[in-house]
């Protein structure tokens, strides 16, 4: 069976076991990248360097010592045991989906896959879920894969979303440099979003923002006049879609463009997805970011 079939969000939606889902996706994805330059990225031997006091003696290459009578330690690429944490937006707007997969589901698949994938890199994994406040927080740990996956599995949409306050709490709680993956639909003003993410970035974290939207949020294909209800606030307004479709699209594009530019300036990796795209797009984006983060000195 072609592994890419599992990467289709509609297919993944049929797999209830999130652990199995993550294994299926990630293993299939890696198998498919067998000849990729990223294979074995994190555990490949890089070089030797002279032993310095304080180095872990477990890294001493005793065979070199036997031949040369000098102490050298092995240095591996990405053999960093980095902290990997998912920041998952649970706001009610994430519950929206015009097709078979909601943004929340898509985010869950993505979070599960990334967590599993990171754990395969021997990273410590954790997760923070939030809406207008932190809902769940699983600290990063090498043993927390199951807990993280379990947390992801029972994720349900919360209330109104607010990105600044929960991310501020996250920033305050992080004491070690981490790789942070923010999964959200980012329905906030760009300034607010940037304030929140800049705090994380400024603390030395590597932040990757996965901006997830439904295709209907981008194209606004509605025809019939109807009241539109805000999923988070419950507010309703009458809308004649065809009269403001163009304006809506322009505003949305402007919002996306602004976010992309502002995050680029802040050296934040910004990835935009709609839920119709296969999961491996997101994995690929993540890997390409991770490659740049992989060399640990």
């Amino acid at each position: 069976m072609n592994g890419s079939r599992f990467l289709d969000p509609k297919v993944l939606a049929r797999i209830s076991n999130l652990d199995l889902l993550a294994r299926t996706v990630v293993d299939g994805f890696i198998n498919g990248l067998h000849h990729s330059p990223y294979l074995g990225l994190s555990i490949d031997f890089a070089e030797h360097r002279a032993y310095m006091p304080g180095d872990d003696i477990r890294r001493v290459d005793w065979r070199v010592f036997g031949r040369t009578d000098r102490l050298y330690v092995k240095q591996f690429e990405a053999d960093t045991n980095a902290n990997f944490s998912v920041l998952f937006d649970l706001s009610r707007s994430m519950q929206y989906g015009s097709g078979a997969v909601t943004k929340l589901d898509y985010g869950r698949y993505l979070a599960a896959c990334l967590t599993y994938f990171s754990r395969r890199q021997r990273d410590r994994v954790g997760i923070v879920t939030f809406d207008d406040d932190v809902v769940d927080l699983v600290p990063t740990s090498a043993k927390h894969l199951d807990i993280v996956l379990h947390t992801i599995d029972r994720i349900e949409a919360g209330g109104r979303g607010e990105i600044e306050r929960p991310l501020l709490k996250v920033a305050e709680s992080l004491h070690r440099r981490s790789i942070l993956v923010l999964i959200s639909d980012l329905y906030e003003e760009p300034d607010t979003i940037m304030r929140a993410v800049d705090r994380l970035r400024h603390k030395g974290n590597d932040l990757i923002v996965f901006h997830i939207l439904d295709p209907a949020e981008i194209e606004f294909p509605f025809e019939d006049a109807a009241p539109f209800e805000d999923l988070e606030s419950g507010e309703r307004i009458p809308v004649v879609p065809e009269t403001l479709r163009d304006e809506y699209r322009a505003l949305m594009n402007q919002h996306l463009t602004t976010l992309a530019e502002r995050m680029a300036k802040s050296q934040i990796d910004y990835c935009f997805f709609d839920t119709s795209k296969p999961i491996d797009y997101a994995l690929f984006e993540y890997l390409s970011r991770r490659r740049r983060l992989s060399r640990v000195h």
């Binding site: 929206y96 639909d185 439904d214 009241p227 209800e229 009458p238 004649v240 009269t243 403001l244 809506y248």
Partner: protein, 701 residues
């Protein structure tokens, strides 16, 4: 070309076009709210009527509008007025009726073979879509097939065709052709008339015309100067009755040609043998009566034939007849015992000189009457005699009921007391008192029923004057309502009454026939009157010596088979329900007699023999059949004259237009069936609409 509608009121349904317009102008407003992640990019937009009146989805709208329009037009039953388009649209298929004359004049020389060849050429000329009907006609027309395009079958019909023996009549053929062509739905019509155009076939009186647009094609098979000798008639002159009779045969021979004929041999043939021959000269268009010497007539039916030498038309060269012995009608006069012989003198003498038929008269006294005396009698006349008593009276009653005739002549001795009660069954009522008109000039017969067979011969002027006879005495006779009064005296008293008793006939004459109470016996009308009464009471009908082809022979009515006389060798149809009929050509068939099948149409020339199935040929009834002599006249009719009479008034070149114009709008609409195509288009459009709507619906959710 224009488009009209059979049901234009349905076009009002075009108003339904407003439905898709309304649908497409009106934005459906959903009542349930559409959940949306965030309204931060949506702004409140008020409903703006102007903007809502813009048609959305033009393709869908056009499909729906087209479906509505086409459906409405289909229900309005559109039709194209195709008359202006002519035969291009109407097509070229023909309905052809091939009328083939098979009267016996077509047997002249090689006309028949030429007629069949012409029919075959016509069939070969039929197109693939053409249909043809073969009609053979003479005095009647008969279509031998349904309209067919199968040329092989049509050829087979022609191959099986046989010349007939009838005379030519064009009216039935034209009528049948018209009936066939009128109901045809093919755009072109044609009647092909293959005949010798005999003048006797068309009297110009019939108002017959072929349907409009029909082309009449005439194939003339007549000859320029035909010659024809025909035996058209014979006269049989019987001289003596009762087995010792002789008959003189006279034949009329006609030269219908334009050239004189000399040394023409005319032969009389009896039972297949030439018995006499005459040689005659014949001028052009003249006739000669050829008289043969008397021939003896034996006690059986002879087959006679007068023939001339064969000519190009052999069917009328011989004339067939039967020669049967004359049978005298046996008649018994019963007189009063006291009556003198001369009282029946006038009656006996009158009956004694009868020749057509002869009467065999016997006189008996009523008191000497024996039951056996009534055997084999046709008529009994009670001439002023009382009703017989005893067994004779019973026998007389049975005699009448079995079909015998009884004439009761009232007179001096036939008062009411002379009639027993048992006899009232026959006499209807008893004779009344005598009326004496001796005081004046006597009475007269003033009212006669000239419609009755007895008095019908006297109905013409100067054919018999009953008013000359004076009646001085007669008896009162009160006839019941069931009796028919045939004659009355001037005072209203009954002179002659008739009643039925069983199968027989009873007549009462209320005065004598002895020249005492009246002077009728010495009047000129007496002889024919007595003969007519006797013929009527005996139900005497002379068997025809010949029939004409085309006549229907009633097998149940054989005039030669009479209930009286010696046992007849002639077939009695009441004895056998099945008869064997042998035609002149030798074909035999059994005819089961019934109410609906008691007739045989005489189609062939010559002698038919008819006999009961169980009896031998000796008991056969022989019927001679001759052609209709008018057919012997080969005078030609101008084909143009016939064509002008029967061709449609509209020319054939406009027949397509005529056909189209002749069609009613309903017929045009039915032929074109445009509604069907329109509804099919509606179905296809609706399918396309469903597909488009489904796609659009999928993109808008």
């Amino acid at each position: 070309m224009s488009v009209t509608f059979l049901a234009p009121l349905f076009l009002a349904g075009l108003a339904a076009i407003a439905i898709p317009i309304m649908i497409h102008l009106t934005h459906r407003e959903r009542r349930d709210a559409i959940p949306f992640p965030s309204l931060m990019f949506l702004r409140r937009v008020p409903y703006r009527t102007v903007r809502r009146q813009r048609i959305r989805h033009w393709l869908l709208f056009l499909l729906r509008a087209a479906a509505v329009i086409l459906a409405v037009v289909a229900f309005a039953r559109p039709l194209l007025d195709r008359a202006s388009l002519g035969p291009v649209i109407l097509g070229s298929a023909r309905e052809v009726v091939i009328l083939i004359d098979r009267s016996y004049s077509m047997g002249y020389d090689d006309r028949w073979s030429r007629a069949l060849n012409a029919a075959r050429r016509t069939i070969d000329g039929l197109g693939r879509d053409d249909r043809a009907t073969v009609v053979f006609f003479a005095d009647l027309a008969e279509a031998v097939n349904q309209p067919s395009a199968d040329q092989a079958a049509l050829h087979a019909l022609i191959d099986r065709a046989q010349l007939g023996a009838g005379r030519t009549r064009y009216a039935p053929a034209v009528q049948l052709a018209r009936d066939i062509l009128e109901v045809s739905d093919l755009p072109r019509r044609e009647a092909v008339l293959i005949t010798d155009f005999q003048k006797i076939g068309w009297d110009g009186q019939q108002d017959l015309r072929l349907p409009e647009g029909t082309v009449l094609t005439r194939i003339d098979l007549s000859d320029a100067e035909p010659t024809n000798i025909a035996v058209t008639d014979i006269l049989l002159d019987r001289t003596e009755p009762s087995g010792r009779g002789r008959a003189t045969v006279s034949a009329r021979v006609v030269n219908a040609g334009a050239t004189p004929v000399s040394d023409l041999s005319v032969a009389l043939e009896i039972d297949g043998q030439d018995v006499q021959t005459r040689t005659i000269e014949l001028s052009p268009e003249a006739s000669v009566m050829v008289r043969f010497a008397p021939v003896a007539v034996p006690e059986r039916v002879m087959r006679g034939r007068v023939r001339v030498a064969s000519d190009p038309l052999p069917q009328d060269d011989a004339f067939h007849f039967t020669l049967a012995p004359l049978r005298a009608v046996p008649l018994l006069i019963v007189r009063h015992p006291s009556a003198r012989a001369r009282e029946a003198l006038y009656l006996r003498r009158a009956l004694g000189i009868g020749r057509d038929p002869p009467f065999e008269v016997e006189v008996k006294r009523v008191d000497q009457l024996q039951p056996a005396d009534l055997d084999d009698r046709a008529i009994v006349i009670l001439n002023d005699a009382p009703y017989p008593t005893g067994a004779s009276g019973q026998r007389l009653l049975r005699f009448v009921r079995d079909g015998g005739g009884l004439l009761v002549v009232l007179g001096q001795r036939s008062g009411a007391g002379t009639w027993p009660a048992a006899a009232t069954d026959l006499f209807i009522a008893r004779p009344g008192v005598m009326i004496d008109r001796l005081g004046g000039r006597g009475g007269t017969v003033s009212i006669l029923d000239y419609s009755h067979p007895i008095f019908e011969p006297f109905s013409a002027p100067r054919s018999g004057d009953f008013s000359a006879a004076r009646f001085f005495r007669y008896r009162r006779y009160e006839s019941p309502p069931s009796a028919s009064i045939l004659a009355r005296f001037d005072d209203g008293a009954v002179a002659l009454a008739e009643a039925r008793a069983g199968m027989g006939r009873v007549m009462v004459w209320t005065t004598d026939l002895a020249n005492r109470w009246n002077d009728l016996p010495v009047q000129p009308v007496f002889l024919p009157f007595v003969h007519e009464v006797a013929r009527y009471l005996a139900d005497y009908r002379e068997a025809p010596a010949w029939y004409t082809v085309g006549q229907a022979l009633d097998l149940t009515d054989n005039p030669a088979a009479r209930p009286w006389g010696p046992p007849s060798s002639l077939p009695r149809t009441d004895r056998s329900p099945e008869l064997v009929v042998e035609t002149p050509s030798g074909t035999r068939f059994v005819k089961a007699l019934g109410e609906s099948s008691s007739h045989v149409e005489l189609r062939e020339l010559g002698f038919y023999t008819i006999r009961p199935l169980a009896e031998d040929a000796e008991a056969a009834r022989v019927v001679a059949v001759n052609p209709d002599v008018t057919e012997s006249d080969l005078t030609r009719l101008d084909p143009e004259e016939l064509a002008l009479a029967v061709e449609p008034r509209e020319s054939g070149s406009d027949r397509a237009t005529a056909l189209a114009a002749a069609l009613t709008p309903a017929e045009k609409e039915r032929r074109q069936g445009l509604w069907w195509y329109l509804l099919m288009a509606v179905v296809l459009i609706l399918l396309a609409e469903a597909a488009v709507a489904g796609r659009l619906s999928g993109t808008t959710r």
